[in-house]
């Protein structure tokens, strides 16, 4: 069984608790307007790795994880390769790693996906938008998969962090953030992530049109204000 990996980041400090090794899966079912990893959307890119290779890679960084850190599967959308992800998680757990998965929830809640969610330690759950229409505009996918997965996390009382990227004009209204926090009830943590423009170049490099060209990064003041909501 091979999994398609875009890349690794060996110093992850924003992807779950502590310092983490982040495995970026290639391929994503949704196409967010602000995606900062557009090079990970296409399912054909990246490189194939065996489960063993990835575990061996992670092993080299275990000593940096300290008491709280571990491995985070991110992407792309790791649940798009749910079977591979599940095998990897089991292998990592067997070696004693703390494992998080970073997902947008935009995949069908299959049995395999459920198993993945059951087996990881924490789910980093990205709620792109709370409004069905806006969600579709932003991601070109219906909101239903995300809602179903969120419900599943809540009913199974899974430890999860709810996260939302704050994009000026799209998700930065107080009302929207309120709804997000309402929806996120039950989360261990609620995180608002400031939108930044660092990914814009990647779109250009890929020859793709970036639709949010004129939208500035979220300012510190804005984040402060919304964090108080």
């Amino acid at each position: 069984m091979k999994i398609r990996i875009h890349s690794f980041e060996t110093l992850g400090a924003h992807d779950g608790p502590g310092l983490r090794t982040v495995v970026f899966f290639q391929g994503c079912p949704i196409k967010c307007l602000y995606c900062h990893n557009p090079d990970m959307i296409c399912t054909k890119g990246g490189k194939e790795y065996s489960i063993n290779e990835v575990v061996e890679f992670c092993e080299k960084f275990r000593v940096y994880h300290g008491e709280d850190g571990g491995i985070t599967l991110s992407g792309g959308e790791p649940l798009m390769q749910a079977e591979g992800a599940l095998k990897l998680i089991r292998a990592l757990k067997k070696e004693g790693f703390h494992v998080c998965i970073d997902t947008s929830g935009a995949v069908k809640l299959s049995d395999t996906v459920k198993e993945v969610l059951n087996e990881v330690d924490i789910v980093l759950f990205d709620i792109k938008h709370t409004d069905a229409d806006k969600y579709f505009e932003l991601t070109s996918q219906p909101i239903t998969n995300m809602i179903a997965m969120l419900e599943y996390l809540k009913t199974t009382q899974k430890a999860f962090y709810a996260r939302q990227v704050i994009v000026p004009t799209l998700t930065d209204s107080i009302e929207q953030v309120k709804k997000f926090k309402e929806l996120a009830k039950g989360a261990e943590r609620v995180e608002l992530l400031p939108y930044h423009t660092l990914g814009v170049n990647k779109w250009q490099k890929l020859g793709m049109e970036y639709k949010l060209k004129n939208i500035p990064s979220a300012t510190q003041e804005l984040m402060k204000k919304l964090n108080l909501v």
Binding site: E9, T10, G12, A13, L19, T21, V63, Y64, G66
Partner: protein, 748 residues
């Protein structure tokens, strides 16, 4: 003040052996109190300190206005007794003593070479006085001696930038006197000891015995002069210090005498904070000192250290940019008995970065151990986050070799205090050596024959015209052998002459007579070399020649792994070259039976070396700086910071006992959102790196955008400090080229 005799002064201290024989370590171990708490007890600067600090900051501005040198006394030679007492603001100075009669006024030290002294003076608009010129017409300097003995082969290697930065025209430095001895024992007991050591050298007079007898007499003379110097400031240092203030003042006098007599590149301090802590805590317990006055003593001591100055030439500044003095102080670490050596004064010392504002000196070096108290770890992380002024070195690696009483000279050079000294040997340009080898020993830039004539790249090709790794490796290692032999012999000449003509009497008087000598060699450009060899091994590299047949560039076809990604394919190449190099050095014996050591450290010479090195097979272009120290080449790290750290950590300290420098730039946001998280992540990162065998880490925590702004308008960021390569500098003091190099580095 001196009613007490030595026995009375020592009465309250535990231990017996150190009272008969000079043994500062035993005194510390028997008397210090480990501290595992946090930094809450620290206090701000006293009024006196604040006044002095502000005056100092004004002087710094003026010094910069005057082109980098505030004042120079070019009319006399600086030495221990050359100048009357100097003060900045006598009333407010709790710790006293300057190198000359005025703060920041530099002295003229021509013992390394009168030419350098002259160039230094002239560069800043001064002229060496007639009397000095007259005296040095008849004196042999270190530099004269060396050039009388150099062979033509050595001169070629030196001139073409293969071995550069050699201490053949300036003071070698890297010697740490155990300055604490003066405070613990007083000058008189040390004098008696030195006389005994000299008397013991009787019988058949070998060269070495004669030399040592002469040196010991020099030490005795200079110890006496040190007593006279202290008298100028109203202190009698014959007897041991009786309290914290005296202990700090005596120690400072010992250091001050050293920097008056010698102007070595790195004049490091050693490991004083825990030693001071014993006196401070005793005085606090006795009710004769408060936390405020204890902090005042440390602040003012550190302020004095920040004002140490030497006269340098512009060429020197290229190699050692930013006017560093390397007053390196080793802080923390663990004792051999398992107790931490962190004390409250470890905190007080680091706290000067807040009380006196951020500054590069003294070069604070935290000896990191996995077992350090958690609260100290977090405090270090906070100080790094706030000031970028700390470097970290692996105590768990060093303690077993150097005991728990070692200091760090310069950036990464460990030595047991009072027991070991170093013969500093700068470094060789190993990337250029590869290019010389491919060109049959000819310089790739000038075409000049530098190495003896050897077969060139034509014998190292495969049938398809690309370089054959095995063949290149074989010829390259032969070149390493040639270079190493020349390098050791060159160093032997340099240090023979330095011992003879620029001996460090004061510093050596604070060592045992039977000192162990370490001869420190160095490699610059290891990541460029490793990547270049990796390109030859894993991609197809075709040499491109100019009309004279010199290889000036390379066509590279295909991918190859690069150092800094935790990929054994290339990391192993670096490891093996270092091991081979070290073993090759050892084939040639050193002056005075010194032990060979090796460092992967560049200071800031990575910029100069880059200038002197043509295109390399890894894709680096002619003139582009190397990465500093053992760092992976800029922006070739693809898996993030930790993979980069792992590659460097694989380079073995076993072969690099003089240190492996790694300079790390990370934006605080990369380590988390809240400060608390950032601090604990820094501590976790350091724990991981050192557990994995990493040796040294300079931690810079700036945003790249902030540095970019400071590069464009350095005046607006006068105190912005960056760690460059084993030491820190004020960013604005660096040349524009050096600032650009700092900005080109990988920012995680």
């Amino acid at each position: 003040m001196q009613e007490k005799n030595t026995t009375q002064i020592w009465e309250e201290f535990k231990g017996t052996k150190w009272k008969t024989n000079v043994d500062v370590r035993e005194f510390i171990v028997k008397n210090y109190e480990p501290y595992k708490g946090g930094h809450e007890f620290l206090v701000g600067p006293s009024q006196k300190t604040a006044i002095l600090r502000d005056k100092f900051l004004e002087l710094l501005v003026e010094e910069k206005k005057r082109g980098g040198v505030y004042n120079l006394d070019a009319d006399r030679v600086i030495s221990v007794m050359s100048h009357p007492a100097g003060y900045m603001d006598k009333e407010n100075e709790v710790i006293v003593g300057f190198q000359t009669d005025e703060p920041l006024k530099r002295g003229l030290n021509p013992f390394g070479g009168i030419k350098m002294a002259r160039e230094g003076a002239e560069a800043y608009g001064y002229k060496v006085g007639e009397l000095v010129e007259e005296q040095f017409k008849y004196a042999t300097t270190h530099n004269c001696g060396v050039f009388k003995a150099y062979t033509p082969e050595m001169k070629k290697l030196r001139k073409n930038g293969v071995i550069t930065g050699l201490p053949d025209a300036y003071g070698r430095g890297r010697i740490i006197g155990d300055y604490r001895r003066l405070a613990l024992y007083g000058a008189d007991k040390l004098l008696i000891d030195k006389k005994r050591e000299k008397d013991e050298l009787g019988g058949h007079m070998t060269n070495e015995k004669i030399r040592l007898r002469e040196e010991l007499q020099g030490q005795i003379d200079f110890l006496s002069k040190l007593k006279d110097m202290a008298k100028l400031y109203g202190y009698d240092i014959s007897n041991p210090a009786t309290n914290a203030k005296e202990a700090i003042q005596w120690t400072y006098f010992a250091y001050l005498g050293s920097i008056k007599e010698s102007n070595g590149a790195a004049m490091s301090l050693g490991r004083v904070s825990t030693f001071f802590d014993i006196y401070i805590e005793r005085d606090i317990k006795n009710g004769t000192l408060t936390e405020e006055s204890a902090q005042e003593l440390i602040d003012q001591f550190v302020l004095k250290l920040r004002m140490a100055r030497h006269l340098r030439t512009p060429a020197y500044n290229d190699l050692f940019a930013g006017d560093p003095t390397w007053v390196t102080e080793a802080i923390g670490g663990m004792g051999l008995d398992g107790r931490t050596m962190v004390t409250k004064t470890s905190f007080r010392f680091m706290h000067t970065l807040y009380n006196l504002e951020t500054a590069p000196e003294p070069n604070m070096t935290v000896l990191w151990s996995n077992n350090l108290p958690e609260k100290f770890k977090l405090y270090c992380a906070k100080v790094s986050h706030d000031t970028s002024s700390i470097q970290y070195e692996n105590d768990d690696l060093m303690r077993g070799i150097f005991t728990d009483d070692y200091g760090i000279a310069c950036c990464v050079s460990a030595m047991t205090l009072g027991k070991q000294m170093q013969y500093f040997g700068a470094r060789c340009n190993i990337a250029k050596l590869l290019l010389l080898c491919l060109n049959g020993g000819k310089d790739e830039l000038t075409g000049e024959q530098i190495l003896p004539e050897i077969p060139d790249y034509k014998v190292m090709l495969k049938e398809d015209g690309t370089l054959d790794f095995k063949k290149v490796q074989k010829h390259f290692l032969k070149s390493v052998d040639y270079l190493c032999e020349q390098y050791v012999n060159t160093m032997n000449i340099i240090h023979y002459m330095h011992d003879k003509y620029a001996y460090e009497n004061v510093q050596m008087s604070f060592h045992d007579a039977k000192v162990e000598r370490l001869m420190a060699f160095g490699i610059a450009g290891i990541s460029v070399l490793a990547d270049s060899l990796s390109a030859i091994k894993f991609a197809k590299v075709t040499p491109k020649t100019d009309e004279k047949g010199i290889v000036v560039d390379y066509a590279v076809d295909g991918d190859f792994p690069t150092f800094g990604n935790d990929d054994n394919k290339v990391d192993k190449i670096a490891q093996e070259v270092v091991e081979y190099f070290y073993n090759s050095l050892k084939k040639t014996p050193c002056h005075r039976d010194a032990t060979h050591t090796l460092s992967l450290l560049t200071i800031t010479s990575n910029v100069v070396y880059g200038k002197l090195t043509g295109n390399t097979p890894c894709g680096r272009k002619l003139g582009q700086p190397f990465a500093p120290g053992a760092n992976p080449y800029h922006n070739r790290e693809k898996h993030g910071a930790v993979a980069s750290l792992n590659s460097v950590a694989k380079l073995s300290y076993e072969f690099c006992r003089d240190g492996i420098s790694n300079t790390f730039s990370i934006s605080p946001q990369s380590l988390g959102k809240e400060e608390k998280t950032v601090f604990s992540n820094i501590a976790t990162l350091l724990d991981g790196y050192f557990k994995n065998g990493g040796f040294h880490l300079n931690v810079n925590m700036h945003k790249k955008e902030e540095l970019q702004k400071a590069h464009e308008a350095p005046k607006e960021y006068p105190n912005l400090t960056v760690r460059v390569s084993g030491y820190a500098v004020r960013f604005g003091v660096l040349s524009s080229k050096h600032r650009e190099e700092v900005l080109d580095r990988t920012f995680f």
